[in-house]
């Protein structure tokens, strides 16, 4: 079976100019540095990792909001970059995006009804105004808002409501895949569960696939079927949610999980604290990128780049000593 979305060898390098005193220094930011991933129909794939590891850049290249430096994106088996005209437009309809910040994402001068049906207009899927108004009302009901909200402005709504509006817009064209870039991070704690439930309902009803970008691991555990862990532009581990959270194999994943505070004072745990900070994506360490912070690093790690290996069924990990880390960490 072909995957809905398949990404192969994806790279995105940004050329930047940094001012160092009076000198201008040209540098390359290796934001995404060779990523492979697949999303099946009706599936939620999570991407987690620390700030700056390249999660959003992966999402944006898939949407072709930015052009990849290298690599291919296949949509139902077809190369996205080879598509032109109507074929490309139809794919644009099939992939939607929801952003983190529900405040910045909505045009304050537009009515809510126009905001959520704008993609329909752009894709000529609903040409008459009355048709769009009818769709707007339906969409608002779908995301749990009142249909009369269509004739109001975004500033009249709370964060959670605005995120619902953002979701209504994203699903207006009946997409097959939604890229959700930290969709609940900016929301209040009492509102997050509402939005997570809404996303789950939409998936059950419509079979939409999600690429769920987040840094909150508990949320990812809850909503994702599979999870990819990124570090400095590459995927270091990928597995089903149960397998990744139940028996993490990469030392980085283990440290990440260990750092998550658990809302239960009975489980105050001994942590394996990671020392230091993420290295700059301009100067990537040789060999294994994680070696500057890895408690298990050895000489070999500086010389050889570990490739993703399938250590357990559908459980991939990029570490020379993953077998050992199972015994020591987790």
């Amino acid at each position: 079976m072909t995957a809905l979305l398949e990404v192969k060898g994806l790279k995105k390098h940004f050329r930047v100019v940094r001012q160092n005193g009076f000198r201008a220094v040209r540098e390359t930011v290796h934001a995404v540095d060779g990523v492979d991933l697949e999303v099946a129909t009706g599936e939620t794939l999570g991407i987690v990792g620390e700030s700056g590891c390249g999660k959003s850049t992966v999402g944006r290249t898939i949407l072709r909001l930015i052009e990849p430096t290298e690599g291919t994106v296949l949509w139902q088996g077809e190369r996205l970059d080879s598509l032109r005209g109507e074929a490309l437009r139809s794919i644009r309809r099939d992939i939607g995006i929801v952003f983190q910040d529900p405040f910045a994402a909505l045009d304050p001068r537009m009515l809510v009804g126009d905001i959520i049906t704008e993609p329909l207009k752009a894709h000529k899927m609903a040409t008459s105004r009355t048709e769009r108004q009818e769709r707007a009302r339906e969409l608002l009901i779908t995301v749990g808002l009142r249909p009369e909200f269509a004739s109001r402005y975004p500033h009249e709504f709370s964060g959670g409501q605005r995120q619902r509006i953002g979701i209504a817009r994203a699903i207006s064209t009946n997409p097959k895949l939604l890229v959700l870039d930290e969709p609940i991070s900016a929301l209040d704690i009492s509102i997050r569960a509402q939005i997570l439930n809404l996303l789950e309902d939409l998936q059950t009803e419509r079979g939409i696939s999600y690429l769920f970008i987040a840094h909150d691991l508990s949320v990812v555990r809850h909503i994702c079927h599979r999870v990819a862990v990124m570090y400095l532009g590459v995927i270091v581990e990928q597995a089903s949610s149960d397998s990744l959270f139940g028996s993490p194999l990469h030392p980085y994943t283990q440290a990440l999980l260990s750092a998550v505070p658990v809302a239960d004072p009975a489980i105050r745990k001994e942590r394996t604290l990671l020392e230091g900070d993420v290295p700059s994506p301009v100067h990537i360490p040789s060999g294994c990128r994680f070696r500057t912070r890895c408690p298990l690093a050895q000489e070999r790690c500086a010389k050889e780049t570990p490739l993703l290996r399938e250590l357990d069924t559908a459980h991939w990990v990029a570490c020379h000593f993953a077998e050992k880390s199972v015994a020591s960490g987790g």
């Binding site: 620390e50 508990s218 555990r221 959270f245 998550v260 809302a263 004072p265 990671l274």
Partner: protein, 323 residues
Amino acid sequence: MTLLEVNSLQTEFKTPGGLVRAVRGISFQVERGETVGVVGESGSGKSVTALSLMRLIPTPPGCIKADSILLEGRDLLSLSSREMQRVRGSQIAMVFQDPFTSLNPTMKLGEQVAETIRVHNSVSATEVKERVLKLFEAMRLPSPEIRYHQYPHEISGGQRQRVMIAIAFACNPKLLIADEPTTALDVTVQAQVLSLMKRLQTEHNTGTLLITHDLGVVAEVCDRALVMYAGQIVESGTVQQIFQSPKHPYTQGLLASLPQIHADSRQRLVSISGQPPDLARLPKGCAFYERCPRRLMDICTQKEPQETVFEDGQTARCFLHGS
């Protein structure tokens, strides 16, 4: 003597949209060496509480009223602004969410810590520098000598927050108020910062008021917690009490709505419907009524529930438990 005792603190803001009742009569205590968590969603009054204690609320539009705010028995509200300034920094220190805005961008990091030490103590220049380097070491800042001469933009967010904590501890404060100190950080860095903060706090026997919206952080590092909703403390107790037997429907709802990292199944989350009330147009009766799954029809809309104190010291403001 109790380190900090707050009695009926009330802070309001006069705005064009009406009187915003940000903090509505809250009372609590912090003992030496104790960490008290303040949780609640955005707008529930956590930061206004912190700023009111420091007397940093702009007046007008703000107005702080309280029966008393006692720091080791001394009423902070009765101090002149000069005396209050001396209390800030020497006896009460504060760490904010965004360390970038609270650090001076044009001043060397080491100098910023040194300045705090000099303002509040008369010690020799070499001793000041030694103390700064020691603090940097305690905060696990790599190569403290180099950091001393760097500027805020040259280090990472996690390192900036550690410099802020170094500044906060530079004068050996009795009380530390940390307002979302790790909210902007990655979990890995958050874990580092929290454990360093905890260590310094234990060493100095500092009482801490830790403001956060992350219930995980509260469970991990706090001894007691105050749950705020719409400007009131709706529940308080030890973290064991709050997490194991929450009494207020809001606390119960929050805990039930959290996805569990240890849960195997993808069970549907219990969510709290609706949203918090507008603080300028508070309903009569209980502020949580609109969203409360356990509301008792009549009484909840007619009267404001008062605080019930349980035998073990836990408190809740809800008619399910008393008046």
